[in-house]
């Protein structure tokens, strides 16, 4: 047994060095060289300032922007560090709601959101993803149906024809990969940037 102590120490240290330092650091250098944009977090800049990441959702409340899905992320309460307060789309503390199928809190929240959306657009069925919170709280996407649902509100807020907004949604919709993998989706930040660009013109 004593004979095994030396390998226990040195095999551990050697592999720790290889897999815990050389591997991640070398991959950082290589990946940063081949795919610099992705390695840094797919950041989007406008007028020289970072406005977010193409992959990370951000909060939109304004009527003139498309809204993302409800987010259940939290942050430490500034008044009491042992508690947390809701902080939607907190990209430094990802989390879902973790409310179960028989949760009253969830049922009440969804009902409230559905009522609000029905008041905004009674003509279309409320898409399920627009009233359910995502797993990460940072979902960058909504379904095409959820984007189209919001078109009347945005057209009104911006004073542009609905058809023009609808065309932008269609242009920013990503289909399934090779028609098979994943789900059709619209990246909310990309769509809103396109919206800003098209209305400015």
């Amino acid at each position: 047994m004593l004979k095994e102590i030396r390998p226990a120490i040195f095999v551990l240290l050697a592999l720790a060095f290889i897999t815990g330092l050389i591997y991640p650091l070398a991959m950082t250098v290589v990946a940063g060289t081949i795919f610099p944009a992705q390695a840094e977090g797919s950041l989007i800049t406008r007028d020289g300032k970072v406005i977010g990441s193409a992959l990370i959702g951000q909060e939109f409340k304004d009527d003139k922007y498309f809204h993302g899905r409800p987010s259940a992320t939290t942050a430490a309460d500034p008044n009491d560090a042992t508690k947390t307060v809701p902080a939607p789309y907190n990209a430094a503390n990802s989390s879902g709601s973790n409310l179960g199928p028989t949760s009253k809190a969830l049922a009440d929240r969804v009902k409230q959101d559905v009522d609000k959306l029905r008041a905004e657009n009674a003509a279309q069925a409320v898409p399920v993803d627009l009233v359910t919170s995502s797993a990460s709280g940072l979902d960058p996407d909504i379904s095409p149906a959820a984007a189209l649902f919001q078109v009347p509100r945005i057209a009104k807020a911006r004073g542009v024809p609905e058809d023009r907004v609808r065309a932008l949604v269609a242009k920013n919709t990503d289909g399934r990969l090779i028609g098979l993998l994943g789900e059709p989706r619209v990246n909310v930040l990309a769509l809103n940037l396109a919206l800003d660009a098209s209305t400015a013109r």
Binding site: V11, T28, G41, S42, I56, S95, N98, L99
Partner: protein
């Protein structure tokens, strides 16, 4: 449920089966000590490691020495993780200025990564420095995966060798597994994942000013290199709190498929290694068939349950299934499939929040873990877990016909059956026992996030996941308390080592036996009858053990849900 959904599921299964043979061939070569196409690059590194460690690569070990070497290796691993977590504030690679991790959380996390569980009581981006993520977690992801694989190899050698006193050399197996199998695959996968959008940087968290003018702090880091081994090694501990649901850990539908494949790839290939080493590949395919039957059954139920939605959503006229706690880019099918895969294997990564699954959809992951994660299973752990059930099934069959049972040329006798039963019974002892304790302790009950039967399921899920070394969670449960940190750590420890030690004892005792040629009275172990027998034994033993607990949790919740009750 949609046709495209089912095609995605079948495509996934086809890829796993297709990969089993080539990967199995390569892995067999590595563990038989043969030269591989990577030897020109890796052999000098391998030799250097042996030299500084004083390992004689031609020397083989008795099963007991092999097991002791494995345990000593883990003592060192524990000290490294615990040390870097406690000292992270004064160590480099800490741009976010994380302070030292508390004693009980460090203890829990160290045990968790050591045992290939990777339970997340920590929130990665809010608790850990980059150094801990690399030297603590990434490193241990490699080692616990390699340990699982080499233990399975040792058990296979027990079956394949005759009248032998040794089962291989632990140090040689671990080094070769890490260098020749895990590292090359991880390098390829890291590059692929970065291409798909996973960050790989040592820079600080990004401060962004959103379109509406708010400030958003975006956590980044050396993510891709860790995600690669986390999936391939069926570890599952996330860089971020939301794990593979986080867009930075799983940005696209393609990255999702590749991550799902990497969870099963090595585990499925090990069945092929088993077939090759015992001299009959069909023995391996039979085991894979047992796993496949149970897997397809689980996926079908979970997919159906999630696509059906919950009565809360359906009552409001919302269609499209249960999207609470799921990401749009994955949708229902890829979330349900991922949940079944991650719990069939002992991965525990999640791309959707299991806590928000429907009652029955969340029950399938629970059952997968309670069966002992033998459906493909953790790398290595799944195969030796399955072989324990095979020993039992063969024993039951032997009792029926009144002959001494035998499997791949080895007589299965009292010692093997006792050890298999010990390993199989110790799991429910931990998860049922601790759940019972937790639900009568007011302080432990206070950790539940959901009321009613769902709260009970949260606790049952936590102890099941810890004991089975899975690491996924009904994450609403506040696990970072003194009680849960210690009890979950004990479940992980017992669940790992009280399965490994009996399995190694079986390996040792089988290796010493003579090999007997099959006769007319031998039960063929490559056909449908055998597959059916093993599936039956698994379901009967599993069902008798945990059905009562399931009845109190998901089953009663499903009935409540259909009656429209909320808690």
């Amino acid at each position: 449920m949609t046709l495209i959904g089912w095609i995605q599921i079948l495509l996934y299964c086809a890829i796993i089966v297709a990969l089993a043979k080539p990967l199995g061939w390569y892995m067999t070569g590595v563990f038989n000590g043969e030269r591989t196409f990577l030897s020109p690059v890796l052999r000098p590194v391998e030799v250097a490691v042996y030299r500084i460690s004083g390992v004689d690569e031609r020397h083989e070990q008795h099963w007991l020495t092999y097991t002791i070497a494995m345990l000593l290796f883990h003592v060192g691993g524990f000290l490294v993780i615990y040390g870097v977590m406690r000292l992270q504030a004064v160590l480099p690679f800490n741009p976010a200025g994380q302070s030292a991790v508390a004693e009980d959380l460090s203890f829990n996390t160290a045990i968790s990564f050591l045992t290939n569980t990777n339970w997340q009581n920590y929130g990665g981006e809010s608790t850990l420095s980059y150094l801990v993520q690399m030297l603590g977690l990434t490193h241990q992801n490699f080692l616990s995966a390699a340990t699982g694989i080499v233990l399975a190899i040792a058990l296979i050698r027990g079956f394949s060798r005759a009248s032998a006193r040794t089962v291989g050399n632990f140090w040689v197996d671990v080094v070769r597994c890490t260098l020749y199998i895990l590292l090359p695959l991880c390098i390829l996968m890291t590059l692929f994942l970065v291409w798909q959008g996973i960050p790989q940087t040592l820079g600080p968290y990004v401060k962004a000013t959103t379109l509406e003018g708010a400030t958003q702090t975006i956590a980044v880091g050396p993510v891709a290199s860790q995600v690669a081994i986390k999936m391939l090694g069926t570890n599952g501990g996330g860089f971020f709190n939301a794990n593979a649901a986080h867009p930075f850990e799983n940005p696209t539908a393609l990255s999702n498929v590749v991550q799902m494949i990497s969870v099963f790839a090595l585990g499925a290939a090990l069945t092929n290694v088993f077939g090759r080493m015992v001299g009959n590949p069909r023995q391996g395919w039979a085991i894979l068939a047992v796993m496949g039957v149970l897997f397809i059954a689980g996926v079908s139920i979970a997919y159906w349950a999630e696509a059906s939605g919950t009565s809360t959503l359906n009552a409001l006229g919302l269609t499209g299934g249960n999207m609470e706690g799921k990401e749009v880019r994955f949708g229902i099918v890829a979330s349900a499939l991922f949940a079944v895969i991650t719990t069939a294997a002992s991965c525990g990564a999640v791309n959707a929040m299991h806590d928000s699954f429907t009652a029955l959809g969340g029950m399938i992951p629970l059952i997968n873990m309670q069966l002992g994660e033998i459906i493909i299973g953790g790398v290595g752990a799944g195969l030796y877990g399955m072989l324990l059930f095979v020993v039992l099934a063969i024993f039951v069959a032997g009792l029926m016909v009144g002959r001494t049972p035998e499997y791949v040329g080895k007589k299965i006798e009292a010692r093997e059956v006792k050890m298999a039963m010990l390993a199989i019974l110790v799991l429910p002892l931990m998860y049922l026992g601790w759940t019972a304790v937790a639900v009568v302790l007011p302080s432990a009950v206070a950790s539940m996030a959901n009321a009613g039967p769902h709260g009970f399921t949260e606790v049952l899920y936590a102890f099941t996941s810890a004991t089975a070394n899975n690491g996924s969670a009904f994450a609403g449960l506040t696990g970072n308390t003194f009680f849960y940190n210690l009890t979950l750590a004990s479940s992980m420890f017992v669940g790992r080592f009280f399965m490994i030690i009996p399995a190694m004892a079986i390996a040792g005792s089988l290796a010493e036996k003579k090999s007997i040629p099959p006769s007319a009275g031998t039960l063929p172990t490559t056909g449908g009858l055998f597959v059916g027998l093993v599936v039956g034994v698994i379901l009967i033993i599993g069902g008798l053990t945990f059905f009562p607990a399931l009845a109190l949790g998901p089953i009663v919740e499903h009935l409540a849900m259909t009656a429209g009750t909320v808690f």
